[in-house]
C-alpha cells in the first residue's frame, strides 16, 4: 500500500515540480548564453537588458525551486490529509503510518532532486558560458587524488574519508526528515483544535521550536558542566592535526545524525497521534 501511495504522491507533486525544474534548467542555459553574450562587449542596449533579465530569471529560478519544494511539502500534507481530500485519503485501505511515510519519502526525494538539479543547472550554465573545454575536469580528479594522498600521509585512510562523507550525507537526510516532521507534527496537533486550526498549527510550530531549543540548550549546558564538551572538542585550542580534526568532524556528523534521529522520532509520535486519534476534518 505504501508503494501505491508513493506512486500517487509522485504523480500529484511531479506535475508541479517537473515543470519548475525544467524551467530552471532552461533559464540556466539562457543565463549561460547571456553572460557569454555580455562578455563579447559591443551589443545593443535592448539585448543587454534581455540578457540581464535571463540572468535574473536563473537566480529567481534557483530560489523558486527551493521555496516551491518546501511549500509543496507543507501544502500536500495540509490539503491532502487535513482538508477535504482527507476524507478520501483517510478512508483508503491503508494505515496512518503509510500515509505519513508516503509524504515524507516523496518530499525527501524532491529535496534531493531539487539540490541535484540546481547543481546540474550551475554546470549547464558554465557549459553554455564558455563551452566544456573551459572546465578542466582532469584538474578536479587530480586535486581529489592529491587530497586523498595528503590525508593518507596524515593517517586518514580513503575508507575513513568516504565514511565521513556518508555520515554527513545521512545527517543531512535526517535533518531534512526532522524538518518535514516539524511541520507535520505542528499541523497535525493544530488540526486537533475545533476552530482556528491554522492559527493553532502556527502556534504548535513555534512551541515545538522553543521546546527543542530549550532542550538543546539544557543538553549543551550539561555537557559544558560535566566537561563532556571539552572532551568533544579535544585539541581544538591546540591547533589540531588533520587526524584529530577528522575525528572531531566524525563526532560532529554522528552527533548531528543522532540529534536529527531523536528529533524525528519525537516529532513522528504527535504527527501520527494527531491523524489517528485526533483527526477532526471540517
Amino acid at each position: 500500500m505504501l508503494g501505491k501511495l508513493i506512486k500517487h504522491e509522485f504523480r500529484a507533486t511531479g506535475r508541479i515540480m517537473l515543470p519548475v525544474l525544467g524551467v530552471l534548467l532552461l533559464t540556466s542555459v539562457l543565463a549561460g548564453l547571456s553572460i557569454r553574450l555580455l562578455d563579447t562587449g559591443h551589443i545593443a542596449t535592448m539585448m543587454r537588458i534581455v540578457a540581464g533579465l535571463f540572468i535574473a530569471a536563473f537566480v529567481i529560478g534557483v530560489i523558486a525551486a527551493i521555496v516551491i519544494s518546501i511549500v509543496l511539502m507543507v501544502s500536500r500534507f495540509y490539503r491532502n490529509l487535513l482538508c477535504d481530500e482527507g476524507y478520501l485519503m483517510h478512508t483508503l485501505p491503508s494505515n496512518t503510518h503509510a500515509l505519513v511515510w508516503s509524504k515524507l519519502i516523496v518530499s525527501l526525494c524532491w529535496f534531493i532532486v531539487t539540490i541535484c538539479v540546481i547543481w546540474f543547472s550551475l554546470f549547464l550554465m558554465v557549459l553554455f558560458l564558455g563551452g566544456l573545454q573551459t572546465v578542466d575536469f582532469s584538474g578536479f580528479a587530480e586535486g581529489w587524488e592529491q587530497a586523498i594522498a595528503f590525508l593518507q600521509e596524515e593517517g586518514v585512510g580513503r575508507g575513513q574519508l568516504w565514511l565521513l562523507l556518508l555520515e554527513f550525507l545521512a545527517a543531512a537526510l535526517l535533518s531534512m526528515l526532522a524538518s518535514c516532521l516539524h511541520f507535520y507534527a505542528a499541523m497535525s496537533l493544530g488540526h486537533m483544535a475545533a476552530n482556528r486550526k491554522v492559527l493553532f498549527s502556527v502556534l504548535a510550530f513555534i512551541g515545538i521550536s522553543i521546546a527543542f531549543r530549550i532542550i538543546l540548550s539544557g543538553v549543551a549546558a550539561g555537557m559544558i558542566q560535566s566537561g563532556a564538551m571539552e572532551t568533544f572538542f579535544l585539541g581544538l585550542e591546540e591547533a589540531p592535526g588533520i587526524s584529530e580534526a577528522f575525528s572531531m568532524l566524525h563526532k560532529i556528523a554522528l552527533g548531528t545524525l543522532l540529534l536529527s534521529l531523536i528529533q524525528s522520532a519525537v516529532l513522528y509520535v504527535p504527527t501520527v497521534f494527531g491523524l489517528k486519534k485526533g483527526l477532526n476534518l471540517g
Binding site: M1, K4, K7, H8, A12, R15, N80, D84, E85, G86, Y87, L88, H90, T91, L92, P93, S94, N95, A194, K276, K277, L279, N280, L281
Partner: protein, 232 residues
C-alpha cells in the same frame, strides 16, 4: 454477531458535549437503511466513526467483526457529504486511483455510469460543476463491490430529477449481499428505496424499525411519522 455493522454503547463526546450517546444498533446484510434525523442529530458523526475518521470516546463499533481500520476500509464504500476528489485529476485519473487502491472497484461499471450521467472521462474535476463532481463521486462510490455502503447526504445538493436518477443508481448498483446506509433529512425522496429506518436525535437513537412496520403500525408514511416524532 451477524450484522455487517454493530454498535454497542457507542459514545462520541467533544468536551462536555455528547455528539453520540450510548448508540446500540445492528445492520443486517441486504438492507437499505435510512439514517434519518434533523441537522446536528449525529448522523455524520456516526458515519465518520464507521469510516475511522473519528475515534469513539467509549463503546464499540464493529464492521464485519472488525474495528474500523485498513481491513474495514477495504470493504466500506463511503460517500462523504462534500466533494473530496483532488481537483487536478481528471475523471479517468480518479478511476485509476480507485482501481489502484480498491480491489473491488469495477471500472467497467464506473465507465458505464459516467456515460449514463453524461460525464466525460478526460474532463478535469476542476472544470466540472458542483453537480457533476457530486455525480462523479457517487459513481466512484457505487462502482465498488463493497459490503457496506455509507452514503452521507447523497441527494443533498441536486435537483429533483437527478435525485430520482441517483436513487435508482444506488438501488441498481449496490451489491445485494451488502448493506446500504443513507443519511439524509430529505425523507420523502428516499423513502421508496428504504427497507429500514433509524431515527436519530441529539445523539440518541429514537427508533430503529422496518419501513413496513411503521406503515402498518402507524398508518403513516415514514416522512409523516418523522414529522410527528420530530415536531418542533
Amino acid at each position: 454477531m451477524s450484522g455487517i455493522l454493530e454498535c454497542r454503547g457507542l459514545c462520541k463526546r467533544y468536551g462536555a458535549m455528547a455528539a453520540l450517546d450510548d448508540i446500540n444498533l445492528s445492520i443486517e446484510p441486504g438492507r437499505v437503511v435510512g439514517l434519518l434525523g434533523p441537522n446536528g442529530s449525529g448522523k455524520t458523526t456516526l458515519i465518520k466513526l464507521c469510516n475511522g475518521l473519528l475515534t469513539p470516546t467509549s463503546g464499540e463499533l464493529l464492521i464485519l467483526g472488525e474495528r474500523p481500520g485498513a481491513l474495514t476500509k477495504a470493504v466500506v464504500s463511503y460517500l462523504p457529504d462534500r466533494v473530496t476528489l483532488p481537483e487536478w485529476m481528471s475523471a479517468r485519473q480518479i478511476m485509476d486511483f480507485y482501481a489502484d487502491f480498491y480491489a473491488d472497484f469495477q471500472r467497467d461499471k464506473a465507465k458505464d455510469m459516467l456515460t449514463r450521467f453524461g460525464l466525460n472521462e478526460q474532463m478535469k474535476i476542476k472544470q466540472m460543476s458542483k453537480g457533476m463532481r457530486e455525480k462523479l463521486q457517487l459513481i466512484l462510490t457505487m462502482s465498488r463491490e463493497a459490503s457496506l455502503y455509507l452514503l452521507d447526504e447523497p441527494i443533498g445538493g441536486v435537483d429533483p430529477a437527478t435525485r430520482d436518477y441517483i436513487l435508482e443508481t444506488i438501488i441498481r448498483n449496490y451489491n445485494p449481499e451488502a448493506a446500504v446506509i443513507i443519511s439524509t433529512h430529505l425523507i420523502a425522496d428516499v423513502e421508496a428505496a428504504l427497507d429500514e429506518v433509524i431515527f436519530i436525535n441529539n445523539g440518541h437513537i429514537v427508533l430503529q424499525s422496518a419501513v413496513d412496520t411503521i406503515r402498518d403500525e402507524h398508518g403513516k408514511s415514514v416522512d409523516a411519522y418523522f414529522r410527528e416524532v420530530f415536531k418542533c
